[in-house]
Amino acid sequence: MTGLRHAFFLARKHLSHHRGRTALLCVALFLVAFLPIAIDRLVDAGEQALRARADSTPLVAGAAGSPIDLVLSAIYFREPPAATISQAEVDALRADDLAMVLPLVFGDRVKGGPLVGTDPDYLEFRGLEISSGRNFAMAGECVVGAAVASREGIVVDDKIVTEPREIFDLAGAYPLRMRVVGVLAESGSPDDAAVFASTSTAWIVQGRGHGHIKVDEEVDERLVMGRTGGDDEPSVVRMNAAIHEFVEITPENVADFHFHGETVDLPVNAAIVLPRDAKAGTILFARAETGRVRVQLVRAAKVVDRLLVEVFRVRRILLAVLGVVAVATVLLIAVVIALSVRIRAAEIETMHLIGCTPSRVPLIIATEVVILVLSSGLAAMLAGFGVTALVPAVERLLLG
């Protein structure tokens, strides 16, 4: 025992004296141990989060195209799918009261998060609680996710402005100033990072609907580009595009807002479909397959399962590559230790001359290796636990 204690002392002293080299070896060993742990944990946690979100989303409807894109868009509000369905298709899915259908209109952003136009029932469907305020009820109102609210310091009754769609498009839609009527409690889901409003609000932001700004005597005359008409005919005033940097829907002007064309033709990016029962679900699938409703209808869980098969395949490849890298690193470290033993030849000879037993020097070197491996392994294990905290960030990074 005394011998081991002395070996540990000498090993520790040697390692701490050569701090730079020790740190380098520790980092190399740490990475060898940590990367597979981190990948495993991240993939596992990502898989759980993805599966949980998909499992709570029975069916997703959308335009024909990649089902994976459709489902990921619908559950994470990432880039909208390339094609849309119309509000008419949403209504068709609702026919015969076979399902509750929650349309999703997104693609615009507000305060760094996606603006999701949907039905007020969406919050109840996801089990989202409103920590302050109420649900949105009319166009121009919104409910802010917990993460957006805490990051931006948003509270009920604040006004938030959507991000411009095309800053160089002078004829484009103005950003919409929305009134915050509610703030959601934290749910640990992508909903925390979103802002929810009605589909009408989302369409207005897209420029598919608009109101008219009253040009009265309070308008800055410098923005007036011309007037026509007289006493007997209605006047037309041409204004500079700088007249307003945003529009706002209020109870006073809400009646002025209108959509060009039929509302049923307005686009919907995706819809979450909650059949009343299994039979209703089967009927809906049959209607989608026969073209009675012109949508692609998919089971979110099955699509995610297909995606995860690919993810696991990539993980296996990645772990195999890491395995090879680990073997190479360990061999490299073995070479470093072997070279270090050669460099320490004089020191080792001195130990032998003084009279240490033949096993003492290997014991000291082995203790150094054990200290390096254990400290790096321990750090990798602790960091592995810490990786779990990174899951939401990685999820956001990968899934938008």
């Binding site: 002395h6 000498l10 002293k13 001195t350 001359l353 003084i354 009279g355 037993t357 033949p358």
Partner: protein, 242 residues
């Protein structure tokens, strides 16, 4: 008057053959008919380069084995011991001082001095620490106890090495050119410090040296080149203290 004690090292009819260099028919042979070193005695080994001075030390330490003859440390015949036992005996009964000090840079002064205990797996009891402290005081480097080796002068390093050689209270100190790396002003001071400290512990000193100016500090001089032994000073043989 110097007091010598019972023999601590006895080389008898020692013969060691060096391997023949490439192209040569015969190798070189070191022959020592008799060399006896008594406790408290100091012997300088001199001779031209390549005459076998360092080999003599290595034979005396049991690091290499002779072709024939006997090496006795105290009353133990090294030829009767296995490698492990020879190492244990070396650790306990022999101290080493080298020209290049051979201190471990990752240890401080005190840790270097106590190194033989750690290498031998021995307990670092208060007595061992007291001995180390006593030697630090004796060699005048007590104030450097916690200093790193790289921050010491050559003289301070050799004093540290002397402390390390004597800390186990060996019967004999084998010194290979202990003043070879020191400046002229330090040579005699350090050598006398070694010899005095060894005498105080009744330890013999067998030192290889090229410094003929320092030979008067030794009790005897063995000239391997000439093959003769010169005895200086007066000594008398006494029994080792119980």
């Amino acid at each position: 008057m110097r007091v010598w004690y019972a023999p601590v090292l006895r080389l008898t009819d020692l013969q060691f053959d060096y391997p023949a260099p490439a192209g040569a028919v015969d190798g070189f042979r070191l022959a020592v008919p008799l060399l006896e070193v008594r406790g408290g005695e100091s012997i300088a080994v001199i001779g031209p380069s390549g005459c076998g001075k360092t080999t003599l030390l290595r034979l005396a330490a049991g690091i290499i084995t002779p072709r024939s003859g006997r090496v006795m440390i105290d009353t133990t015949d090294l030829s009767t011991l296995g490698e492990s036992a020879r190492r244990s005996l070396r650790l306990a009964r022999i101290g080493f001082v080298f020209q290049d000090f051979r201190l471990l840079e990752h240890l401080d002064v005190e840790e270097n001095i106590l190194l033989p205990f750690r290498l031998g797996g021995l307990r670092l009891d208060p007595a061992a620490r007291d001995r180390a402290n006593g030697l630090l005081e004796r060699l005048g480097i007590a104030h450097l106890r916690r200093r790193g080796i790289t921050r010491l002068s050559h003289g301070e390093r050799q004093r540290t090495a002397i402390c390390r050689a004597l800390v186990t209270e060996p019967s004999i100190v084998l010194a290979d050119e202990p003043t070879g790396n020191l400046d002229p002003a330090n040579k005699r001071v350090i050598l006398e410090a070694l010899l005095d400290a060894a005498r105080e512990k009744h330890a013999a000193v067998l030192a290889v040296t090229h410094d003929h100016d320092l030979l008067d500090a030794f009790d005897r001089v063995v000239d391997l080149g000439e093959g003769l032994t010169r005895t200086d000073g007066v000594g008398r043989v006494t029994e080792a203290p119980s």
